[in-house]
Assembly symmetry: D2
Amino acid sequence: MKAVVYHGPRDVRVDNIPDPKIEKPTDAIVRITSTNICGSDLHMYEGRTSFEPGRVFGHENLGEVVEVGSAVEKVKAGDMVSAPFNVSCGHCSNCEHGLTNYCERANAPGIAGAAYGFADMGPWQGGQAEYLRVPWADFDALRLPEDARERQNDYVMLSDIFPTGWHSTEMAGLYPGDTVVIYGGGPVGLMAALSAVQKSASKIMVVDRHPDRLRLAEEIGAITIDDSKVDPVQAVMDETNGTGADCGCECVGYQAHDPQGHEHNNATLDRLVQSVKFTGRIGTVGVYVPVDPNAPDDLEKEGRVPFDFGLHWFKGQSMGTGQCPVKRYNRNLRSLIAQDKCKPSWIVSHELPLERAPEAYKNFDARNEGWTKVVLKPQMQ
Amino acid sequence: MKAVVYHGPRDVRVDNIPDPKIEKPTDAIVRITSTNICGSDLHMYEGRTSFEPGRVFGHENLGEVVEVGSAVEKVKAGDMVSAPFNVSCGHCSNCEHGLTNYCERANAPGIAGAAYGFADMGPWQGGQAEYLRVPWADFDALRLPEDARERQNDYVMLSDIFPTGWHSTEMAGLYPGDTVVIYGGGPVGLMAALSAVQKSASKIMVVDRHPDRLRLAEEIGAITIDDSKVDPVQAVMDETNGTGADCGCECVGYQAHDPQGHEHNNATLDRLVQSVKFTGRIGTVGVYVPVDPNAPDDLEKEGRVPFDFGLHWFKGQSMGTGQCPVKRYNRNLRSLIAQDKCKPSWIVSHELPLERAPEAYKNFDARNEGWTKVVLKPQMQ
Amino acid sequence: MKAVVYHGPRDVRVDNIPDPKIEKPTDAIVRITSTNICGSDLHMYEGRTSFEPGRVFGHENLGEVVEVGSAVEKVKAGDMVSAPFNVSCGHCSNCEHGLTNYCERANAPGIAGAAYGFADMGPWQGGQAEYLRVPWADFDALRLPEDARERQNDYVMLSDIFPTGWHSTEMAGLYPGDTVVIYGGGPVGLMAALSAVQKSASKIMVVDRHPDRLRLAEEIGAITIDDSKVDPVQAVMDETNGTGADCGCECVGYQAHDPQGHEHNNATLDRLVQSVKFTGRIGTVGVYVPVDPNAPDDLEKEGRVPFDFGLHWFKGQSMGTGQCPVKRYNRNLRSLIAQDKCKPSWIVSHELPLERAPEAYKNFDARNEGWTKVVLKPQMQ
Amino acid sequence: MKAVVYHGPRDVRVDNIPDPKIEKPTDAIVRITSTNICGSDLHMYEGRTSFEPGRVFGHENLGEVVEVGSAVEKVKAGDMVSAPFNVSCGHCSNCEHGLTNYCERANAPGIAGAAYGFADMGPWQGGQAEYLRVPWADFDALRLPEDARERQNDYVMLSDIFPTGWHSTEMAGLYPGDTVVIYGGGPVGLMAALSAVQKSASKIMVVDRHPDRLRLAEEIGAITIDDSKVDPVQAVMDETNGTGADCGCECVGYQAHDPQGHEHNNATLDRLVQSVKFTGRIGTVGVYVPVDPNAPDDLEKEGRVPFDFGLHWFKGQSMGTGQCPVKRYNRNLRSLIAQDKCKPSWIVSHELPLERAPEAYKNFDARNEGWTKVVLKPQMQ
């Protein structure tokens, strides 16, 4: 089958590789019909991680079940399913408590959490390919309703970024009527904004500097703050009578950089701490890494982030971090889509066949205007 | 009246100052019978803060109401009361939501949170004195049961350190049966350990290096880890089958230092991040400050704490911070004392008249063996 | 001043009575500009309660502060305020824990909970009058933004029915994407439906039999079920693939009756238990009473409700009950109104001067078509 | 193998029946070494349910895995395991949300919730036998530590009554320092009391009339109330300054009866509503049934319980009901046992070989003095 394979920094190619097979009785094989390129793929694409050449990308996957193992009893061939990016066993202590983002059995011993096609997240092959093996299929595959074939660009968001944006608002403790500031207007930040709309935030402030992203935020009713033009902390204060936002979402990650392109891994956290009120909560879904050998700075190489923790403490803020437990939310967000309460596909800029993945990676990595979100269609001719 | 007054770094004296008076109809005047010296008093004592000479120390106060203003309807003269260290109005947005630790009216505009006798925490005089003015007395004073006069050393812990230790276990999400690691075996850390006992933690690990503190921890059933002798992270791993503690409490603060006395404001947080399991929660009640002009290091001067945030994120941990909302817990902890379910006075090493405060400060600041907790008795002859 | 006074069953009149005065230093006097007639007024109006002739109705009050006592420091003359129907002291154990619906000081000893102008809810005079005394004004009066004078019909809903409808969805555990069934399409049921819209329920099913109410429910996107025409339990099952709604709201109360007008106090609870799924939650804000001397049935006279508790248990459902703690929600709902996220005034059918209260009571009590919600305007000429 | 088989009302026998076999790849076979008789077995034993003659009793099971299916990857032959009484698939919507008490796949379509050897709870054979088939073994079997073979009478309580008692305190919202009243001092009520001890309730009041049960409650520090001698509601009021208990646990069920043996299915709920304070919560784990054809009263035949719902509502209480989700708690309670923080075996009165089950049922059903809890030992000669 064809698959998007990593060959080295900024070098992805569509190669022919063997089809996946049922390896365990709990597996399913899914024919992928929609699979997104994610902002977190870019860390690997740029060579900032330990991702090995030869591995297949893709953790935002949707498709049709074509085969199931002998122990699979719920999911059946013909089902349209969304595969959460978290690979999870369903019976370890974390999975049983809903912490499928930190499954204790799907990665190496001592490391919790796994994902398809991801550095340091276990051996699982990615889904930017014609087929994907989904382990623990009854637990990991979410069945979709009848209209899934026609509305793939909405449902495909259930595997990662819609739940991930939602999770940032959950960790931020967003309650209807609250004000919220979201740093980062990329796909995850936009999904955080959509989540805040669904939850009836009274003001949703999105900070970014790319016009196409800010435009998308505006389309769903957010207040946009262009940090290449204004001080975003001051802008938030102006919108909140000087108290700061009730809560904040970090949707940027460790590669935060200034308009000149210089990285400061503490930049977003600093601004969040300043923008969010005393007692406010912050949900950090932007990726931070334990080691970053190619970072520009010694502290950063060790994964250290020298942010204003003193102010954070003085203000009595709290913070949640880490990967999103997709299964905690994907059933209910599926219902919102199915009942036409929201259309997360509004951010999709491109639908492309698998063959055009290299071009898509290049443009998305460069943040080229208009490349806000790419859905690859492996079955497209 | 007599009061413990700050005269400059490491210089406190018992001076005669004017008695407090009813200033507003919601005030009460309390004759102080027990008032503790707190570890956080030492930041001011050492001259590491903006605390002005002439101010009176003391935020852990217990005593008898002697006079109330015209609008006070619940508290009456003759009542024995505990005054939470948080000064709070009861009707701002934060107070109404139980966030009395960040009252919006008791400090300067734009700064939430206030306390008696504390740097940057509003104008309120401290209670290491014969009398204390308690504002918003119906809201701020907790009435105590009949046995309060006889068991002052238990009830006096309700104003700060018992609730503060408890709060660290709450922010850490401690559920019965969990394992917990507590960094810092000072009075607050010991109260965190006591709280964990009351909540039926399955293992309580206390890290410190002072034999008197470790002995007190052991007395209530904790496992003690002497970090001057062993690697505490490894010790926690050994006790938890290599997974790390379910949750962690930070009871040290920004002046964390190595056995040689060199400060590293990130030292405790680093160890907590390493000692606590994937998905674990951390409750940080040790004090961190937004600016620290006398810190040994440039980052620290700005309140920055360069800890392993990358690992924290990778492990999907979350953290709560800040002052404790004493009122959230003090009624129920009062019941535990009244019903003989615990005796937080077990840590008290000294009962002294006000006049001996200078000697007490000196010994407590030096962490001299055996000076674990001092209760001043202003009415003692 | 003029006020709406109860003279006996189905007999209310607008009488001249003395103006209220500041009685305690914590009081405020409010000139009422909008005050609603509530469905719960009708229990008293019909003579089903112990409400004494001579008392003044009115617990949904909005107006302008004209005078404050000496201890009032936050609210000022000239402020537009919403007065929650719950009278609450702010410093008893319940108030401190946010349970202002069950204040321990505002009613007789041993009875928690108080309200303006209400049977068994303390001595507080109602606000269907030109002026109202608001006790504990800093705690009980919510200040409103600039646009309050122009948008009174929205903000007036903050004193009771918007929070009460919201509370039913909170007790029902409504999470975005859930399906919800609401029994009762009166003002509170419609506010529950509005709350469910704000919280992004995926399906909102409102059961009633009055066309004007069902029309209002439909206007905000609810699915309407006319229980005079179809079996509502079956209708809910049809909408939910046979599993039942995720959660349910009881907005009817003990005077539930069949289309022929016969009361069955268990009718709504039975249907809820049947309509809500296994493990589902139910929020019951419809009023039930401990004794009901004029009830048609012996069990009901004693406040007993012989509903299908066995099925309720078998399905593992849970239920919250009682008056709404308005202060828990009114700040955030105020923000939703202020930021134009919703318009709870859409249910208002009549704005009338105080003098026309008798006519309004008569029509509202008769459920006459088109009398969905009446706002009295005491300053209207 | 030998098994305890139901032959009709009050007629159980130890019969020889075929051994269970692996039927699905996710199954395990467990050799039962300890299996309790439960109070809920008695509803079936007495013929009050639809339990068919020929079925095997037993849902409190502990033993050693002897064989696993091809898809079982965590549990292995030789493991000592506790099997929660809830049979649950692990991948339906309820199981995924931790509601394993209401699994949607382990019973007939449309009915959620299943158990071993239980009327209306699915086809699963009970474990009062030499062997038990455990379906979905990786999800359903909890592995036990090394000392499990020696401390079976502690660990066997993990399959039902320890978690069930705990669950009642969870649904009751018991927070450390609260007062709690527990109606019913049978095994489940005693476990609720033990749970309240572990959670540091300030007062634990247990109501029953059997001296052996009251003695066991007293042994762990509870205050006992003998309702054959005093009015329990008044006794609770006396212990709580007239306010009522902070929360309450229902551990009796629909067969509540007066000292003369007459059943009143509303008796316990009435007393709870009266004994628990305004705003208090009630956790009802005592069993209530949707239909009860042999009940003495017409309402009861239909599963109706005519309790003081009006007072319940007036006091703003809330209530949780239903089967316990054992898996939510069993890991942490296992840790409490393993770390010697509690010994739930203190209630065990008899260890008997399977053959003596008929005698045990007879005595336990008669509430004969001293028969507080029977553990059957199928491997005992």
